[in-house]
């Protein structure tokens, strides 16, 4: 980044000192963010007796991972979380992309009503959705089912991410779609064949965000599911029992839960950055 014409930090320091200080600051920030994760990984590799002395001892084992993986409930929770995240992403994108497009391109009463609706829902604190949702899923017989968890997630995605999508489409020049309409497309055809392909980086970015949101989500999962649909964030918390805390198992599960999110973020970051720049 250009450092020209910018008031310098600690001007009395020699350049080398400034650089060192800068490097130290960066290292400290990285460490501060990475430390909990490193500690988590370390804990997951320690035997149960060593979890309170993570920083001491040289005994390492994969036993916690083996124990966690042999638990059917945890494996099921992983699969459930992956399935629900993927489905929620797919279904919400179907709505979010077209809803963002509508908010960006149309100014009629329908668009304004929709805008108002999601605005109101966005203003409601996230946590206050939970109790009403619990009653609704109970009375509709959706409590502790895939649908009962999927629908609220899709709704949240639509309310939160339609805005982002609107912003992306605002950045795409509409004359491309006009050209397509003159070239023989319907309005819908122009959207599908021209606007959506142009927004693909943004849509990929949104897909990553949606997926991670649901994968990491805890509150809805805790309240809206019971034993039939275990999901990973809830199962992880269940290592806190009356018999005590199973830190090593919880850490092993958490490390495994980090992995898909980590991989998706790693491979998706290119799209996220490109998408958010549109």
């Amino acid at each position: 980044m250009a450092m020209v014409n910018r008031p310098q930090f600690l001007p009395w320091l020699p350049p080398i000192g400034r650089k060192t200080l800068f490097a130290l600051a960066v290292a400290f920030i990285c460490f501060a963010f990475a430390f909990p994760v490193l500690w988590l990984i370390l804990t997951s590799l320690r035997p149960e007796s060593g979890v309170y002395y993570v920083h001491r001892g040289t005994e390492f084992t994969l036993a916690s991972f083996a124990e966690v993986l042999s638990d059917e409930r945890i494996v099921a929770a992983f699969l459930n979380s992956a399935l629900i995240s993927t489905l929620a992403t797919v279904f919400s994108l179907l709505v979010t992309v077209s809803s963002g497009y509508m908010l960006s391109r149309f100014t009629g009463p329908a668009s304004r009503l929709w805008f108002g609706t999601i605005y109101v829902f966005r203003c409601v604190p996230y946590i206050s959705w939970v109790l009403p949702l619990y009653f609704v899923t109970q009375s509709w017989g959706l409590y502790d089912t895939y649908t009962g968890l999927l629908l609220p997630h899709i709704a949240v995605h639509i309310c939160f991410f339609s805005w982002l999508m609107k912003g992306f489409f605002d950045g795409i020049d509409p004359s491309m779609e006009y050209a397509a309409m003159i070239d023989g497309c319907t309005r819908w055809g122009a959207f599908i064949r021209v606007a959506v392909p142009s927004a693909l980086p943004a849509i990929s970015a949104l897909a990553v965000l949606c997926w991670l949101f649901t994968w990491n989500e805890f509150l809805f999962a805790l309240i809206l599911t019971g034993n039939r649909v275990p999901v990973i964030t809830v199962v992880m918390a269940q290592f806190v029992t009356e018999m005590g805390l199973r830190w090593n198992l919880m850490a092993a599960t958490a490390v495994m839960a980090l992995l898909p999110a980590f991989l998706i973020a790693l491979f998706g970051q290119k799209y996220v950055i490109r998408g958010l720049r549109i």
Binding site: S175, A179, I182, G184, C185, T186, P197
Partner: protein, 387 residues
Amino acid sequence: MRPAARFAAGFPKTGNRFDSGEAMAAISLSKLNKHYGSLFHAVKDVDLEIADKEFVALVGPSGCGKSTTLRMIAGLEDITSGDIRIGNKVVNHLPPRDRDVAMVFQNYALYQHMSVYDNLAFGLRNKKTPEAEIRTAIDRAAGMLGLHDLLQRKPKQLSGGQQQRVALGRCIVRNPQVFLFDEPLSNLDAKLRAQMRIEIKRLHAEIPTTSVFVTHDQVEAMTLGDRVVIMRDGRIQQIGTPLQVYGKPANKFVAGFIGAPAMNFIDVNVRSAAGVTSVEAEGLRLTIGPADAAALAIHSGRRVIMGMRPEHLSLGAGAPGLGFDAHVEVVEQLGSEILLETRVGNASITAARVPAETAIARGDQVRLSAQAGRLHFFDPETELPIS
């Protein structure tokens, strides 16, 4: 075969345009209106007849409704009232895809995710034209516009001029009834703009197609249009050939808008005595020739607005009764000529066509003379010409 016919023969037939010999693509706008909400009346009672194969330039300052009019012809804007006919068909409520028009946009509007080839093929593929025919059509268009080397590239890899050429190509491969141009040259630099202007003119000569060209640049309008339509505040001010709108402007606005540098306007008083009509302003007294004198005599003793084009003023004494002294304030050396910004009384007057080699400097006193019969007079209230 004429080049145009040869070219057209290479394109798939998109309708019965070439089968029936009659003029098919005349455009007719009658009592066309566009309101945005209740407050903004963008286009007011526009009546315009565009003949088949005619090139009409719509020109006016920004916000004058010219682009809106074009977008209504394209079908991208609904019309509030009035009729639009293309050929013999009223197209008021037809969607853009059914109007058989092609449009070039200011920002090119190329499909960014497609190669140049696919951009050119898009419209024909929508019509389910066989790929072989598409290839032939693209091949010819690419040859005309020099796009052969660019066909596999993405629009982002092209320069502005190349992108605009692709946009032109996209229009001509479809062989539509009407070409619509929405300020297609505004995003190009001056040199490229002049080149593309010639290119468009050449294209129209080779593929004569009814064209409507919207621009805010009067030079583009004058050089390209068979006829020029000048608009202001949603209303048509004048329709005419470039020579007509330049020589006989319909009102003061048109007179000031057309021509560069812009026409000088000076408030003058008309004096008519002993059969001689003259106009006077501070530091200026011109004797009016018999052509204008009759009309001006009626306004004797009143104030009118006199218009003088900078290019019709020359340095030197000139004809008797048409000269006046001017104080030079700015000298603009263009190499080919000098533009003088001068002061005469309270008025500032621009003079063009002063030979480039003339020794002249700021502060000099010069004698300028007008050309008989090249003066314009406007009523100060109606701004209509006095003739």
